[in-house]
């Protein structure tokens, strides 16, 4: 009987120690899996490049979310994947939107990866996301236009998204256009990370829309603009202040326009 209890004790000891270790782990940077140049990998993988890059890809995306340091390693992994298997489309697309969202300082890398993707791989999402990245992170409407056009001409683009791409630049309401772009992105992928990002952006825009509508309603009813968002709640126009997915807070300008702040 004592033998069994000893075994159980040791087993629980192991579980406890693992738990403690996980809890006490210091903040990590994204550790790149590969530090070898592409020719070395090509030798090691016996020429099975597409399988090797699939594995690298799976490994890279596992760490996202658990990292609270720099994402330089992720960018380096994606670049390795792009070199080893230039036709593997999704990593390019993923890099264009998710990398700058995770680490805004990496926008230049993301754009560079995007350009390589447009050249070497054929998937309509690559130019589409590249255009979105130009628009959303760099406010570069000229490049966005170029690449939305390229995406519209790419084979395989779904009809609804094709319309969005084609109509870029023609719509007056920039916010609606951005929302349409994010909706397209949401529809274009099964990737949970990208979908979450798209959804957050859509929610953010919808909150802005809703707050602006509430502000006009307040003006109509009370004659003046509200000073703070809470005023609208007190006036019974809003049930409560919605939580912004990005953590923005809102103030209302004297002309009734909404301004968002990141604390």
């Amino acid at each position: 009987m004592t033998r069994i209890s000893l075994i159980i004790l040791l087993f629980f000891g192991v579980i406890f120690l693992q738990y403690e270790y996980d809890a006490k782990k210091p903040p990590v940077d994204f550790a790149p899996l590969v530090v070898f140049p592409a020719p070395v990998l090509r030798f090691a993988d016996l020429g099975l490049d597409s399988a090797a890059t699939s594995l690298l890809w799976l490994n890279s995306i596992q760490e996202i979310g658990t990292v609270n340091g720099s994402y330089e390693g992720l960018v380096s992994d994606i670049r390795t994947i792009n070199t080893l298997d230039p036709k593997f489309a999704y990593p390019y697309a993923f890099a264009e939107l998710v990398v700058p969202a995770l680490d805004p300082s990496k926008i230049a890398d993301a754009i560079a990866i995007g350009h390589k993707g447009v050249k070497d791989a054929s998937d309509w999402r690559i130019p589409f996301y590249l255009a979105s990245a130009y628009l959303i992170h760099l406010d570069d409407r000229a490049n966005a236009l170029t690449y939305f056009d390229a995406a519209a001409r790419a084979p395989g683009i779904p009809a609804g998204i094709h319309a969005t791409a084609l109509n870029f630049g023609t719509q007056k309401d920039k916010r609606a256009q951005t929302k349409a772009i994010w909706t397209s992105i949401y529809d274009s992928t099964n990737d949970e990370i990208l979908r979450d990002q798209a959804q957050a952006n859509i929610a953010h825009i919808e909150i802005l829309d809703m707050l602006e509508r509430a502000v006009s309603l307040y003006k109509k009813e009370k004659g003046t603009y509200p000073e703070r968002a809470e005023d609208m709640v007190n006036a019974g126009i809003l049930k409560d202040i919605p939580r912004d997915p990005f953590g923005f807070t809102y103030t209302i300008e004297s002309d009734g326009k909404l301004k968002s702040h990141l604390r």
Partner: protein, 257 residues
């Protein structure tokens, strides 16, 4: 001529039965099945790139397990023949060394083909299950793989005529690695001395150049494979294997038993 075919057929039938009934082979195939199931799981965490992951890892798995099966069956068979002298029964009869070598070759090729076909079926089911339809191009990649395995079998038989069974296994594995990296080797010495470049060029042409048998990366992206390319690859495998087997027969006949 009839005796030639008859004896080779009898020996290959025997070799096939002997190798296909090996329990370890089934162990390896079960591993391959587990691996395929695992790739299905990996597909689900690939952020929407299920088919790409399943196809690329699946075909790579069929290749790696195929090489393991080929090298394992080949070397254990040759070991039995030479070390344990099962050849005495055969060669004391009106059977020539050529019959024996070719019979072993075709018997082993049959076993490897059947095992590979089994893995291919599992792969096709997995891909169809995930919505990829019938992956016909993958079958072409697997055909190329069988050509490579045939060459590998010829190589193992060739090595076994003059080296210990363990060493011939090691040589075979080494040749697989080098055979896939020959173009890297040529590139590596592109800026070297002229003699170096000529030496490497010589190696490039004499060692079996296996990269041509790998069209997996093309198949994943649905590229078109020209018929002339396929014919050239088949011819290369055939000629190289024939050369190896011819030398094997010659060395084998000279060998002391």
């Amino acid at each position: 001529m009839n005796t030639f075919v008859h004896n080779i057929f009898a020996i290959s039938k025997n070799t096939f039965k002997e190798t296909i009934r090996n329990k370890i082979l089934y162990g390896i195939l079960i591993f391959a099945l587990a691996y395929m199931l695992f790739t299905l799981f990996l597909g689900t965490i690939s952020l929407g790139e299920d088919l790409h992951v399943i196809r690329s890892l699946g075909l790579a798995g069929i290749y790696l397990f195929g090489v393991i099966i080929t090298v394992f069956l080949g070397s254990s068979l040759i070991y039995k023949e030479i070390e344990r002298k099962t050849l005495y029964f055969v060669l004391s009869k009106p059977v020539s060394h050529a019959h024996l070598v070719l019979g072993k070759f075709f018997g082993l090729l049959a076993s490897v083909s059947v095992s590979t076909a089994g893995m291919a079926v599992i792969y096709l089911i997995a891909v169809a299950f995930k919505g990829g339809g019938f992956d016909a191009l993958a079958l072409l990649a697997i055909l190329y793989q069988l050509l490579e395995m045939a060459l590998l079998i010829a190589l193992t038989i060739f090595f076994s005529t003059f080296s210990q069974p363990l060493m011939s296994t090691l040589y075979a594995v080494l040749v697989v690695y080098i055979g896939h990296s020959l173009d890297l080797l040529v590139n590596a010495v592109a800026n070297g001395s002229t003699t170096m470049r000529y030496v490497v060029r010589g190696i490039y042409y004499t060692l079996p150049n296996l990269a041509k048998f790998d069209i997996r990366n093309l198949v994943i992206y649905d590229a078109h494979i020209a018929l002339t390319q396929t014919l050239l690859v088949i011819a290369y495998a055939f000629v190289y294997a024939a050369a190896l087997l011819y030398m094997a027969v010659f060395l084998f006949a000279k060998r002391e038993l």
